[in-house]
Structures are given as structure tokens and as C-alpha cells.
Symmetry: none
Subunit: 207 residues, 4 copies
DNA sequence: TATGAATGAGTGTTCATTCAT
DNA sequence: CATGAATGAACACTCATTCAT
């Protein structure tokens, strides 16, 4: 199939885009992306009709890569905590291994160049994850919250965790652990009767 | 002699910048910011020598506003949970009331136009908050993690919470509550003995 | 594949630059140069990455044109005076025929936007001329002076001569003659024994 | 007279203008000139209604300074050659001592921002010089040429001489000498009968 | 008179996109 | 399909000049 070579070029452009966006932000020139992908200026537009489309496809591409990584790592027969932990490790490990993609995704995510449709599409493939989270948080403080929200919280913590892991590679696994425990706590903490009276709040002190 | 620089005008430009960045991202033209601030193109550069400086000062300005809001809301004699909850409410309320600032801050935070110095300066005034969080998380899963990390996790959840509150104003206070409980859980959850064996994981099921 | 850079267009831009600089000085807008060259604003920067490079290349372009004109006119078998005179005529004639280039060159030459490297390069191709001048002035008052200096003196007189020729086209050939004789005198005048006592100084008079 | 202080400020601005133009060319910002003169931006315009007027007045100011220097140096009872030589020395010495003024003058002279009127006015005070030159060149090759032309030739050589003196301060007086002899030759060389047959041309050689 | 903030037209340069080759 | 020259709108920033103080 004559598409083989094309697909390689497409990927090269997406990869280049992630790199360049990571370095220069969304204002990065398409020409620089093309050069990084070792492709002519005009060729980029053969694959992506315009910059917004490139950005949206990059968003999806990165999300998909990440999702498949995580998905592949889940030990579906294990208990929920083990499943979530495996996901978490795969997730953050991907972030550390793909700093450019991670940074690009962060920029894209807050920009309004990513359409709602793209964002919606980006959620495909995470239903399984949502289900897992739903079960885990079923008794926790967010048990009433929609999966979207719980997922978003988890993603936010994951992003933060990856940032810190990338910043301090030596402590990466420890940071990964902290992040996981935080998420686990957020999902499952039980407001035991009188929690406010006991626990942390017991140390009723002024600052 | 001669007019002196006008603090009101400075603020007007910063406010305009937040509005325009919220709408158009960091690529927003300085000319549009100036127009929004009802100031001549050139005047913007009298107050901020270049766009990067404007951005950095905007970042600090917004951070400071937010910090002072939160700081003013803390009931320093109450127990820790009450203090944190009050902070949380003030924080998210600010976010809902200042959508432009919030969105602008999100964009600025992930961009590399904000210098490390600015980021460091942005942390001034949150020491008290850090101390509060430190005490609260002293027994929790992140008890060993540096305040920076714990704070970053909390900020990430706060941002997510504000986004969702803004998106669904009707459910704002409920969402705020969920967010708070998530954070509280993240900070204070106790890996009770056998937690893994019991609790959420008890429902050992495959997905 | 794809159009290749067009030498004609390059020349058109250089020519336009000379014209516009002659009229408006070095502050001439690149946009006006582009328009004069019948080229889009951006196209100018395809050929010359920035204004300084355009200026430096223009300097060289004009110098080269002039040099080749002069060079072609030298009757290499004639005696030295005849050779110099032919050069002189070709030189000044070029100046009269290319007023824009001449004026532009004058502005460029005194500006500090022309780099030392460019100035050095501009001297290529005039070695022959230097040699001719060197032989001619070998017995004259500047016999000890470096070729650079003698050449510069000659160039200065040439420039002045061209200015006056251009200003009074009717007397052009006469002015050309005067200029030549002045140069000839400057190069070859012999401080004859007692020159100071006789000659012009004989008319020892007060002013 | 309350003008004393004002005049000082006027001079300060002119001096600053010369310095800044020497460094940055005619595109130098008035603000920089003002700052260099230790005067507020607006003050410059109290003394010189606009930039062109400033430039024209600067031109005249420098010319006048130079003229008075030269004029003061002429030993009016000496023979013509001595008088010219003294003028020449004073002229070039001024140039070496006032590099900023010299460079600024060069830029102004070739620019079209100096009006014909200003150029005409700039000639006031040099009549005496013209007369001297006229007498000296009365038998020379330019005896028929208008004083303007002869003067311009001399000025051109003077400028060149000063440039080289400034570039090589160690050889300044030698260069000054060469320049003078060149001028003297240009003014007084006698195309003796058969000059072409003898003299430099005797070395009838090809290049 | 002196000041310097305010102005907005103007400038060099960039860049997404097109299209001739 | 691939290329890269061509385009011109857009942008950050500058600067001569004005004018309120």
C-alpha cells in the first residue's frame, strides 16, 4: 500500500510539532515544525490543511499514544488498587519518557484552539479507565461527582506529578508514589463519623 | 512637572490583558490589549517595556490578587479543616468571579514566557498556606513530600474544580465541595492497616 | 520542483533600493523598496534576510558594477596618463548615468551599517587600479603614502567631481576634465626645487 | 542676561546630537540625544522645534566651529603656501580632536535633510578661504573652475585625510602632510609643455 | 520654562497559506 | 505528491511630537 511512506511523514510532522511546541509554545512557526520534520514548508499542509487541524490532530495523537500505553499496562485480573497503580505508573512513566509530548499537550489543553469535538474524541478509549475510577471512588468523597470531574481531578494530579518527576528524575519513583497516594486518598478517603473531630483536625491550632 | 505614571492605567492594562488573553490566548495582540484598556498602542509600552514583561507582571498581579483574597478569608482561630475549607471556598469563588484572570493564569502558567524568577516571586505570600497544608498533611500519604509538591497538587485540583464550577454555575457549590473533599482526602487519607485488603479493593473485580 | 530564486528579482530589489535610498536616505522603508521593485513586502526578505544585509549587498553590488565599468575602459597598452584618464572618464560617466546608485553609495559609505568586511570585499577588483595609481604617484607627493590613502583621495575627488557634473550636466565634460587634472596634480606634482619660493607662493600676499 | 543658562543647554543638546549621530547615524532617536544632553525629552523641542531644524542647526554649528578654528590659525602675513598649510593643519587637527562632530558632519552633508539654504549659510565665513584658494589655484589646472568646485575638491581631500588620521593616530601628522601635498599638487600643478611626454607618463608602461 | 507621559502613525520582520513548477 | 518561492496581513515595538502639569 502506497500509504506506508506517507504515514511515516505524517508521524514525523506530529512528532516534530510536539518538540517545537514544547520549546516555543503554540506560537511556533509551521515552517520550523516542517524543518524539524525534515519536510518542506508546503508538505506540512499536504498532511494538515492548516495549523489548527495540525494542533487538533496532534492533541489526539498524543492522547491516543498515552491512552494505549496506560491501557496496555492494566492487569485486569488484579484488585482495583493494583490496577489503578499500574495505570498510574504507566501514565507517569510515559510523561517522563516523552517530555515534549507532555509539554505540548499541556499547552494545547489550555488553549482554545482545541475544539470541543476534539476534546470529546480525546476521551474515547478511556471509558475503561473511567469505569475503574468509578468503582474505586464509589465509596469516596466524590462518589456523587460525574466521572468527567473525577477523571479531570486525576489527570490534574497526574500532570503535576509528571512535572515534578521530570524536574527531579532522581526522585521520580518516590514522587510517582506520592502522587498515587494522593489520588488514592482523593478517591477513597472515608469521611469516617467524627472525622472532623479526630484525625488531622484534632490538632486544632492556630497558624 | 509633567504627568506622572498612573497606577490606575497600569491596572487597566493588566486587566485588559487578562481579558484578551483569556479570549485569544498568549498570541493576543498588544494592540488589542491596549484598545481594551482604552489606551493608545504606545502607552502600553510606557508601562510595560515589552510583551514578556507585561505577561510576567500580569502573572504576579493575578497571583497576588488571588493570594490576598484567600489570605483574607482564613479564620486563623478555627481548626485546620475549617481553615482549609475557608481558603478553598475563597479560592474557587475568586476563580468563578474572575474567569478571565483564571484562564489567563492557566495559559501563562504553562508557557515558558514566565521566567523562573517570576514563578519564584509568585510563591511569596503563600508561606502561610504552605504551613497550613503542611500541618494538615503531616499524617497523610504525602507527609514526606515537599510543600512545593503538595501545594502543586492542591493547585491542580483547585484549577480543575474552578473549571468545572465555571462550566456549570448551577452546581458550583457542590463541585466546590467535591473538590475540597478530594483534596482533603489526598492530604489526610490514612492508609489504615490492611487498607489494601479491605476498603475499595475489597471489591476485587476485574474490569 | 518549486520555483527557484530569481536572479532578476534580486537585481530588481537592489536597483529599487538604490533608487529609494537616493531619494529618502537610509531611513527608506523596506516596504517602499519592495513596492518599487514590484515585489511583495515579504519577498524582499526572501532575498535579503534583513535590511542591513540588503544594504551591504547593495554596497557591493554597486561597487562591483562601477569597478567593472572602469576596468573595461582601461586601454592597457597606452601610457599611464591615458590609462588613468580613461578610467576617470568611465568612472565619472558611470556616476552621471547612475545618479541613484551614486547617491546611495555615498550614503552607505558614511554609514556604519556597512561592515568592515563588506568594505574590505568592496576593494576586490580594484587592485589593478591601485597598481596604476601606485605607478603614477611613484614620484609624486604621496609616493610614501599607502595605496589605500591615495585611492581614498582619488575616490573623494571623483565623488565631488561626479556631484558637480550631475548638478551641471551642460558642463559635465569640462568638470570631468578639471577633476582629472586635480587628481593628476595631486598624484604627480613635483615639489620642484624652490617650488615654495616660486610658483604660487611667489605672489606672497596677505589676505 | 537670563539666556546664559539656556545657551548652555542649547550647546549641550547640539553636542549630544553630534555624539549620538556619530554613533547611530541620522536615525538616532531624539530621546537618546536628549538623554545624552541630560535634558528631558520635551526640552529638546523647546530649543529645536523639530528634528530637521536640530539637524540643520547642528550642521551650521559644526561648520562654524570648524571655520573659526581654521580662520584663527591663518598667518595672514605669510606666503600663500604657508597660509594654506596652516589652515590645513588647523582643519585636520580639529577633525582628529572632534571625531563625533566630524562623523556627524559627514552624515549630515550627504543627507537631504540639510536644506540648500543651510548649505549656503554654511559657506559664510569661508570667503576668505575661497579667496586664498583662488589665488593659489590661479595658475593651476583648475584655474577656470569655480571656487565652489575647487573648495569642494579640497574639502573632499580634507575629509579623507581626517578619516585616515583618526584611524591611525600614530601617523597622523604624516598623513596630514600627504593630504596637504596632494591638495597643493591639485591646486598648483602646472601642465608644463610636454607634461604628458615627460613626467610620470615618461614611464610609459602597460599594466 | 521644564518635564516626561501620552500618542498613533510608521517600521522591520514574521508567518500561515498558496501555488507554480 | 513534494517543493519552496511568493504573498500580504499582522504584529511588536519605536519615535517624533504634543501637552497637561
Amino acid at each position: 500500500m502506497a500509504r506506508q511512506k506517507d504515514e511515516e511523514k505524517r508521524i514525523a510532522i506530529l512528532t516534530a510539532a510536539a518538540r517545537v511546541i514544547a520549546e516555543e509554545g503554540l506560537g511556533a512557526p509551521t515552517a520550523k515544525i516542517a524543518r524539524t520534520a525534515k519536510v518542506a514548508d508546503g508538505t506540512l499542509f499536504v498532511y494538515f490543511p492548516n495549523k489548527d487541524i495540525l494542533f487538533n490532530e496532534l492533541y489526539l495523537h498524543v492522547k491516543r499514544e498515552l491512552t494505549s500505553r496506560v491501557s496496555a499496562a492494566v492487569p485486569r485480573e488484579a484488585d482495583l488498587r493494583t490496577q489503578l497503580k499500574a495505570s498510574w505508573k504507566a501514565w507517569t512513566a510515559w510523561g517522563v519518557q516523552h517530555p515534549a509530548e507532555r509539554r505540548a499537550l499541556a499547552q494545547l489543553a489550555v488553549s482554545d484552539r482545541i475544539t470541543p469535538e476534539t476534546r470529546a474524541t480525546g476521551l474515547k478509549g478511556v471509558e475503561e479507565m473511567f469505569a475503574l475510577i468509578g468503582m474505586i471512588s464509589a465509596q469516596g468523597p466524590m462518589r456523587q461527582a460525574p466521572a468527567m470531574f473525577v477523571g479531570a481531578v486525576m489527570e490534574a494530579v497526574a500532570t503535576t506529578t509528571m512535572d515534578h518527576m521530570a524536574r527531579e528524575p532522581g526522585a521520580a519513583s518516590t514522587i510517582c508514589e506520592w502522587g498515587f497516594e494522593a489520588v488514592w486518598g482523593a478517591l477513597t478517603a472515608k469521611p469516617a463519623p467524627g472525622d472532623e473531630a479526630r484525625g488531622a483536625s484534632r490538632g486544632k491550632r492556630k497558624l
